[in-house]
């Protein structure tokens, strides 16, 4: 575990893997619930990091975190959210080709994986969903699309993302869902948050 200051009141805690970042993030949530670091404003999980914004005493925060026994996140500890997806995105053939699969095989692969939300970012309610795994990373498009419709299911790096609203984007669009990713009438407003398990269901007509 490595502690990197991010300005006078934030600390970036770096670990070796997404699993370790998930476990650390879960432990921080437990410690916060028990009253740890009341000055914390935001805790932002990343791919291999957790950023603590609102810890002016870096040394003390680091000492506390080092003293914790951080249990791994048990498999299957969160409910599975099913995302119904029409696999008809414009970049699906290119992704299948990159994976050296036919389009139906690529869809079967994507729907066979139990994915998990690593973190949110880019836009409110935009989940970075891990699962496609190392070796199947998908390169961004050479030129980003100026408008990707809301509900687009797209691949970037080792993640699947779902666009909560129309926006420009450089990820490879493989499908479309009617799931509402962001709704301010919900609490939390985001449909998927870090740690949630996700399964994609093929509803291509």
């Amino acid at each position: 575990m490595k502690f990197r200051p991010a300005g006078p009141s934030a600390l970036l805690v770096e670990v070796d893997s997404l699993d370790q970042a998930r476990a650390l993030h879960a432990e921080i949530a437990r410690q916060r619930a028990a009253g740890w670091a009341p000055s914390l404003l935001d805790v932002i999980p990343g791919a291999c990091t957790v950023l603590l914004d609102g810890v002016p005493d870096h040394g003390r925060a680091a000492r506390d975190i080092r003293s914790w026994t951080i249990p791994p996140v048990p498999a299957g500890s969160r409910p599975v959210t099913e995302i119904h997806c029409r696999y008809d995105g414009p970049d699906l053939p290119a992704v299948a080709a990159q994976w050296q699969l036919s389009v139906p095989e690529a869809v079967r692969l994507h729907t066979s994986i139990e994915h998990e939300v690593a973190f949110c970012g880019f836009a409110p309610g935009f989940p970075y969903i891990a699962g496609i795994g190392r070796g199947r990373e998908v390169a961004r498009r050479d030129s980003p699309r100026s408008a990707i419709p809301a509900g687009s299911v797209a691949l970037g790096g080792e993640y699947t993302g779902i666009y909560p609203r129309a926006s420009p984007g450089g990820w490879q669009v493989i499908g479309q869902t009617t799931a509402v990713m962001w709704d301010l009438r919900r609490d939390p407003a985001a449909l998927l948050v870090a740690g949630d398990r996700v399964r994609f269901i093929d509803v291509t007509p």
Binding site: R4, P5, A6, G7, P8, S9, A10, L12, S39, L41, D42, V43, I44, P45, G46, A47, C48, T49, V50, L51, D53, G54, F119, C120, G121, F122, A123, P124, G125, F126, Y128, R165, L184, P188, A189, A190, V193, A194
Partner: protein, 297 residues
Amino acid sequence: MTGRSIQVARPGALTTIQDCGRPGYAHLGVPRSGALDAPAHHRANQLAGNPPGAPVLETTLTGVAVTARAAVTAAVTGAHAAVRLDGRPVGLGTAVAMAPGQTLDVGPARPGVRSYVAFSVGLRVPPVLGSASTDLLSGLGPARLTAGDVLELGDAAAPDAAAAAGSRPRCPQAGVPAAPVPGERAELLIHLGPRDDWLSDAGLAALRDDAWTVSPQSNRVALRLAGAAPPRSRSGELPSEGLVAGAIEALPDGQLVVFLADHPTTGGYPVIAVLDPRSLPVCAQARPGLTVTFRIA
């Protein structure tokens, strides 16, 4: 009987409603948002007799003009700008009593970028996730002002909903001291890290010694600085990680991106340094063309 209100006579280049923003939702991808020049926001509310953190107007470069539809106390702070009430000069940084029908005109920022205009007892805006702020990155909060908009004012007997919302910390930047509005040059105080190890020794020296120029592409999301790329010790991108306000990303093309209130919550370029909070108000008032240097804390 309608409530007290003001009407927008001239919206200016970009005028938004801002308060202390929405801390606590970054893990859902929600930018913090809020007034870019926090001390100016705070001072405007003080002068108008408002509760701290009440929503105010934030202008961009060309000011704003509003007409009172009720008796109201206004105050303008931030960028240097000529302020007139029905054409008569009134002071910057003073409480201005407006009678119904009178128009307050905040002129172009010279120097500086953003004026803050508070009205007693705050603008009444339905809060989104606890804040009245317009977030230009993600589209949360009220739309930017347009001519003819009528903005409801709060009621002194019923404190503003946004200011009273919840027990969450309301003003992350409360207590940051005001900074002089920069003229030709600005020195920004920075703290190295979290990814300063992506710079070579020559890169660190360049950060200390070189000068950058504020680009016209700057906005509420980021101050963009053009200059020579500080030499790196490695290339590529990082796995996405969280960003704080004031984070300085080094882009491969040499540009430095200094993230401001509407910044994305995660990024994949190395953050080589983070602004000291005292330098955030300087960035809020940094005009395109301004020369910027860094001092490492």
